[in-house]
């Protein structure tokens, strides 16, 4: 298939940036979206034009490195990551607009690459269980109810890609935050720090400039790992309980 690509190009953080239009030919439907961009880049390199910078690493949907707003949707039209989006989701002759994640705390580094280090800082503020190496008790000494462990696992599959933020009209990272609060809060090992954790992480989230949640739900529908919206209810509930108890 032949496609018209409208791609955001921005030389660096201080550059104003703008949309550039490119044509690519002979794209097969078995190619992934990023392999299609590889073809474009090889073409640009041959012409002497600098390739489009974009992030990707594992290309199997698990590392969370790839991003991209594709025709205005985070990770494009399917419920998956951009690297697992295949060209069979598009048709010959399509025009595709490709932009970086759009959110105040995710500043553009170059072209389609943004800075997501705010997510690391949110985890640093409390997204862990304090258990020094060597201090752990025998693993089966604390049983964890299976349904709770399953819920913990399901939300722990968050890959930290930032699609939830990019999709949210408020630029909120509540889904990311709620996923971590729920993961650790569902496990017996996570109880001792449960309430200090939620207060600290929400504080860091707000400090980074992410917006508040107004229950729109764009985050959950953009999430490639289908983290459900109820983690935000869990987040709010834990926060209420924490504040009521003086954390």
């Amino acid at each position: 298939m032949n496609l018209t690509l409208k791609i955001w190009r921005q030389a660096g953080p201080s550059d104003k940036g703008g949309i550039h239009t490119y044509q690519v030919q002979g794209i097969s439907e078995d190619m992934s979206f990023l392999e299609m961009l590889d073809v474009l880049n090889e073409q640009l390199n041959e012409k002497g034009e600098e390739p489009v910078a974009f992030d990707s690493d594992c290309r199997e949907g698990i590392c969370g490195t790839c991003s991209l707003m594709i025709n205005g949707e985070a990770h494009g039209p399917e419920v998956t990551t951009t690297c697992q989006l295949h060209m069979r989701s598009f048709s010959d002759g399509d025009t595709i607009t490709i932009e970086p994640w759009r959110a105040e705390p995710f500043s553009v580094i170059k072209d389609l690459i943004v800075d997501r280090s705010a997510f690391d800082r949110i985890i640093q503020s409390g997204g862990f269980i304090s258990a020094n190496t060597g201090s752990a008790p025998e693993a089966n000494s604390v049983p964890a109810p299976r349904d709770k462990a399953m819920r913990a696992f399901n939300v722990a599959t968050c890959i930290g890609c930032g699609a939830c933020v990019a999709a949210c009209p408020n630029g909120s990272a509540s889904l990311f935050l709620g996923a971590k609060i729920t993961h650790l809060g569902e496990l017996p090992q996570g109880q001792p720090e449960r309430y200090s954790r939620v207060v600290d992480m929400v504080g860091q989230h707000d400090h980074e400039g992410f917006g508040g949640c107004t229950n729109i739900g764009e985050c959950a529908s953009a999430c490639p790992k289908e983290i459900p919206l109820d983690v935000i209810s869990q987040l709010n509930k834990d926060l209420r309980t924490a504040l009521k108890n003086g954390y």
């Binding site: 078995d30 969370g64 997501r116 862990f128 258990a131 049983p143 462990a149």
Partner: protein, 677 residues
């Protein structure tokens, strides 16, 4: 020496090897034999316990005066950063990704082994040790492997305490499943995303130390040179991949936890950014590269679909628990809808050839068997060259036996991923799979303390060579990464640091200035060649050479040819490369150029190593060395050694690698020809 008792009361069970063949004559220089200078002695079960006690201590007040650089934030690097940070050292952690959480350990699917014996099915530390040595085809060091098995149970405890959500049974206790190459259920798992969950555990532990101020993290940084001062590793030169700045970082110890080099094959299950540069730069500074030809080709990957493919995707080996592998008996059936091929016309070849292990034979055996079926013309799926390169992995029996819901609960994400990539629904049509490069057992040479031959340079995880011999068993990579990071390095590094803090090195020191200058010159060179070809195109060409001649089956003639081709490619690379953009900004073409340059040199060494090793062992299969029925044939009397290669200069300038041999002597396990029949 076999049979006689050593001074520590143990008895060697094999004689030292004596190589009589010399296939690689003319490609290398023979060096002095080497030995592990800190090899433990005594009964194998006491070796690590005794060593932990013998290793010297560093008092807490002194720890904060000691600086440790750790490159890589996967399981081995992330776990080490967290643990050494908790101990109170000053840790600087580097990764090329935009967050430590993205290291490629995250993509490991199936699980992590541990000798917990929760199933009471006869497992033990010794059995895990035995299975791992046997699975590695008797080419690993027994002391290292025993230690790995010994600490495996502690890993599970540690991960559970951190909140890793492993699969559990209804009573709330941990569940296990079985994996290739073994007959017990010792694999702990989190659906098909075990690596992700373990890495997030290590990442969170590390971020906790960042908050505590003991770990400083440098993301989007790439190590481009090792700094060696007075024979000791004292720091690294790294490039800030956002600003392009070339930075000097000095320390008392440098740890490389930089993963494997499977991307030398271009197509592999590794991440796009996975590379050998950190390890190769250390190699060029004197660190030995051990057994570089030991490559793991994983049997269950999604087949190649076309020439624009940028990577291959693994389908977890755990699928072999419930999926049955087959090809049509008749060539003419290969293009039919598999559902229309009756049972009697299907060849479940693994079950047929290996009745006792069936679909759960080790990876190297399963991979080669798939290749042979396709070479015979019984492969399925699209034609790749002259053959169809695919075999079926069929779940219809399992779906009938367990129900679709039960299969979904175990493997849902894998089935989804398969459908996403191929457009076919594996609940209805059998999956098509084919082997792909997945892991490398070779890596930088290390001693029992995971220290390389350069004092102060430690190497952990996939980046070192020590634990998996010539083939790694499934669910053992995660085990090794975390064993090294949480439990081994923190114990052995303190012994090294007990002599520190070492004399302060200044940035103006000659060795530092020289390292920085070399990095700058190389970058300037890449940008100034101004030829016609992208680094990516060289990478693809290298990958084709490696897959063709140094892949699942290797021959003397093929390897010689490959070495010539790689040398030509290298000469062309340095005269015809084209890298656009500048050095003082984010420049992915420039990053790629440096990595490909190092892959080319590594590929050449891999071929020389494969050429020298005229035997078949594990993932290394030399066509000249096989049994009458086509199984791998080892030659212990010649090759029971670790091939540790020293950099001997660029081959285009007449340089040759120097081969140092470390004999492998077993005292706890007798070497046997592997059989899974």
């Amino acid at each position: 020496m076999a049979g006689s008792t050593l001074h520590d009361g143990t008895t060697p069970l094999n004689a030292a090897p004596n190589q009589t063949s010399d296939d690689a004559h003319g490609y290398y220089t023979a060096g002095d034999p080497i030995a592990d200078p800190v090899a433990p002695t005594g009964p194998i079960k006491d070796r690590w316990t005794n060593r932990k006690f013998e290793n010297r201590l560093v008092n807490p007040a002194n720890r904060r005066k000691l600086d440790i650089i750790i490159v890589g934030t996967g399981l081995a690097g992330g776990a080490a950063a967290a643990t050494l940070g908790e101990a109170g050292y000053n840790v600087k952690s580097f990764c090329y990704q935009d967050s430590p959480r993205r290291a490629h350990s995250i993509a490991a699917q199936g699980g992590i082994n541990a000798a917990k014996n929760y199933k009471e099915d006869g497992d033990s530390t010794f059995r895990l040790f035995y299975d791992t040595v046997k699975g590695g085809d008797y080419r690993s060091r027994e002391s290292n492997v025993y230690r790995l098995a010994e600490v495996s149970a502690n890993i599970i405890d540690q991960c559970v305490a951190q909140g890793v959500p492993f699969a559990r049974e209804y009573g709330g206790l941990l569940d296990n499943r079985s994996f290739g190459g073994v007959q017990v259920s010792r694999t702990f798992y989190a659906r098909g995303q075990t690596g992700q969950q373990l890495l997030i555990g290590a990442y969170q532990a590390m971020e906790r130390q960042v908050a505590a101020g003991t770990v400083e993290q440098f993301t989007r940084h790439e190590m481009l040179e090792l700094i060696v001062v007075d024979g000791k590793a004292r720091g690294i030169i790294a490039r800030d991949m956002v600003t392009g700045e070339i930075e000097t970082h000095l320390a008392d110890v440098v740890v490389l936890a930089t993963g494997g080099y499977g991307n030398v094959f271009f197509l592999s299950t590794n991440a796009m950014g996975s590379n050998v540069t950190a390890a190769w730069r250390a190699h060029r500074k004197g660190a030995y590269m051990a057994n570089p030809c030991y490559t793991q080709i994983h049997p269950t990957c999604i087949p190649v679909s076309g020439e624009h493919q940028s990577k291959l995707t693994l389908m977890s080996e755990s699928l072999r628990n419930d999926g049955r592998i087959w090809v049509p008996k008749k060539k003419e059936d290969c293009t039919k809808d598999p559902r229309d091929i009756p049972e009697e016309d299907r060849d479940y070849y693994l079950e047929r050839i290996y009745p006792s292990f069936g679909n759960l034979v080790p990876r190297d055996i399963a991979s080669r068997a798939a290749k042979y079926m396709c070479d015979e013309g019984r492969g399925v799926g699209p034609m790749v060259g002259d053959f169809r390169r695919g075999v079926y992995l069929d779940f219809s029996d399992a779906i009938q036996r367990l129900g679709e819901d039960a299969v979904r609960e175990k493997y849902d994400n894998l089935f989804d991923m398969y459908e996403r990539i191929t457009g076919e629904n594996p609940y209805q049509v059998p999956m098509r799979i084919y082997p792909a490069v997945h892991y490398v057992m070779g890596g930088l040479w290390v001693d029992y303390h995971l220290q390389s031959n350069i004092p102060g340079l430690f190497v952990s995880g996939e980046a070192n060579f020590s634990d998996h011999g010539a083939n790694r068993l499934g669910a053992s990579a995660l085990m090794q990464g975390l064993a090294d990071g949480y439990f081994v390095l923190p114990n052995t590094i303190r012994d090294y640091l007990a002599d520190g803090p070492f004399e302060k090195v200044d940035e103006s020191h000659e060795a530092v200035v020289e390292a920085k200058r070399a990095v700058q010159e190389r970058i300037d060179k890449f940008l100034s060649i101004n030829g016609t070809r992208s680094a990516d195109s060289y990478h693809k060409e290298l990958g084709n050479i490696m897959w063709e001649y140094c892949g699942m089956e290797r021959t003397e003639d093929g390897l010689r040819k490959a070495i010539d081709m790689i040398r030509e490619l290298k000469a062309d690379f340095w005269t015809n490369l084209k890298v656009l953009g500048s050095a003082d900004t984010l420049n992915q073409s420039l990053e790629k150029a440096g990595r490909v340059a190092d892959f080319i040199e590594l590929g050449e060494l891999m071929c020389i190593d494969a050429l020298n090793r005229r035997e078949s062992c594990g993932g290394h299969f030399r066509a000249e060395s096989q049994t009458d029925d086509g199984e791998a044939l080892r030659h212990d009397e010649e090759f029971a050694y670790v091939a540790a290669w020293e950099w001997g200069g660029d081959s285009l300038e007449g340089g040759q690698p120097v081969l140092h041999k470390e004999d492998l002597i077993y005292t706890a396990i007798e070497m046997k020809q592997r059989s899974y029949k």
